[in-house]
Amino acid sequence: MIEDELLKWKFKQGSTEALSCIYEKYLDDLLTLAVGLLNDSNEAEDVVQDVFVSFVKSAKTFRLRGSLKAYLATSVINRVRDRIRKRNRSLDQDRLKADKDWHGPDQSLIYSEQWQRLVRMLGELPYEQREVVLLRLKNEMKFREIAKVQNVSIHTAMARYKRGLNRLKSRLNGEVEK
């Protein structure tokens, strides 16, 4: 956290080194979040690039008291939502894409071995639950921060997380039993 504060300060002063550290530190986490939500590596790359480009453009006016990690993750979430709105894709279509259109690893990203299984399971969750699970487990955001991103109460965010996790657990158990 102290390291992030220092990076934020140096970044605001125009330090390329600080920007590079932030980029290296958060690029993969942000990509994981974007791919996990969009199920599309090309779109995910565009989203993450947009986030960093906007971040750089905002350097002079950048004022952030909270966590840099949460700020960047929230920026990804906002852009992902924009993209999903643009696609005008319903939840069912989204789920269908996770089930049928996922072609697995591509040329630009490296995935964990079990990624394909996981993304299929995540795709079965309602979008809001998927968002909470990813923000909590991957980006380690606090429920207070997640609630703010989703514009809901902490209890709702926690309930969504619990429901999402339970569904994933039962899917994982189901796969083991088979």
């Binding site: 350097a59 990203l109 657990k169």
Partner: protein, 310 residues
């Protein structure tokens, strides 16, 4: 059966995507490029932060607040009256309300807007150009910022010089600058002059287009033939749209102009995103050349680059 703890651990392990070195480099280069561009524009626009200096003392802070309040209260009375009282003001003869708009336009010190070109292909499909322009106008000063998509490519300043206009341009992509003189004024290229021209022609409008939602605002449109302001064919039509609430223009369109050599295609020029009195500083209109930029016409520099590549 998995416990919650084990489920979380499993998911965390599986939730791993990383960029391949090529992807990592590609995105980084783009980010770095944007940072570099921001630096170039910032360094040329460095000026003391007067606002911070003012806000350091409490007395001055209150005085500024009072002045701002007066400007806001006073300024609002300059704006045309709102049209939310249920009356459709645009149904009255334009002479009854167009002068009000004209007067409002005169009160603005500066205006910015965006210009885009839309090409209508032979199959009817529309293609919006990647290149778009942001105009800045202020009394007799003009500036055009030209973008290719998100890439900030060029700035052009037009500075009056007697009866002529000096153009100073810088190209970020070519790292070059160029200066030339145009005879005459900026004239019809000034978006605010265009607005005034259309408002002055409303009495002769060829049609009223009803209301539409543009950029989230209810707007009313008018259609005017380009023959009304020049030796143009009658069928060349232009449109101007006004915000129903503020009565201020929000969009102008030069519709379906033929493209030389492409009889099957037409082009529409749209100016929108008007921002009235956006609080521009004088620096906005003062040309500058970033350090290291070379002098030359962009065409010559591009040709020289191509020649050196071959």
């Amino acid at each position: 059966m998995r416990s919650n703890k084990r489920t979380k651990k499993t998911i965390k392990q599986w939730l791993n995507v990383s960029a391949k070195p090529k992807t990592r480099d590609r995105i980084w280069r783009e980010v770095l490029f944007v940072q570099e561009q921001s630096r170039k524009t910032d360094s040329a626009l460095v000026r003391p932060n007067i606002w911070r200096i003012i806000m350091k003392t409490r007395t001055v802070k209150f005085a500024v607040a009072a002045v701002v309040a007066l400007i806001v209260i006073g300024g609002l009375t300059f704006l045309p009256s709102k049209g939310t009282d249920g009356k459709q003001w645009w149904l009255a003869p334009p002479a009854a309300w167009s002068q009000e708009i004209m007067d409002a336009l005169d009160t603005f010190n500066s205006v910015t807007c965006r210009e885009q070109l839309v090409t209508v292909m032979s199959d009817g499909s529309e293609h919006t150009s990647m290149t778009w322009i942001k105009f800045y106008t202020s009394n007799n000063s003009y500036r055009r910022d030209i973008y290719d998509g998100d890439f900030f490519r060029e700035i052009q300043w037009y500075v009056p010089d007697g009866g002529n206009m000096n153009q100073h341009s810088i190209r970020f992509d070519l790292e070059s600058y160029f200066i030339q003189t145009h005879t005459g004024s900026y004239g019809n290229n000034d978006p605010v002059d265009r607005l005034r021209m259309y408002v002055g022609l409303l009495d002769e409008a060829d049609g009223q287009l009803g209301t539409e939602i543009i950029d989230g605002c209810e707007c009313v449109g008018f259609e005017i033939s380009a023959s009304k302001y020049g030796s143009n064919p009658d069928e060349w039509m232009d449109r101007i749209w006004f915000d129903v609430e503020t009565k201020l223009p929000v969009r102008i369109e030069k519709l379906a102009r033929p493209i030389t050599g492409r009889a099957d295609m037409t082009r529409t020029t749209i100016q929108d995103q008007f921002d009235y009195d956006p609080g521009l500083t004088e620096d906005t209109f003062i040309p500058y050349t970033p350090e290291g930029f070379v002098f030359g016409h962009p065409d010559d520099i591009e040709a020289a680059r191509k020649a050196s590549e071959n």
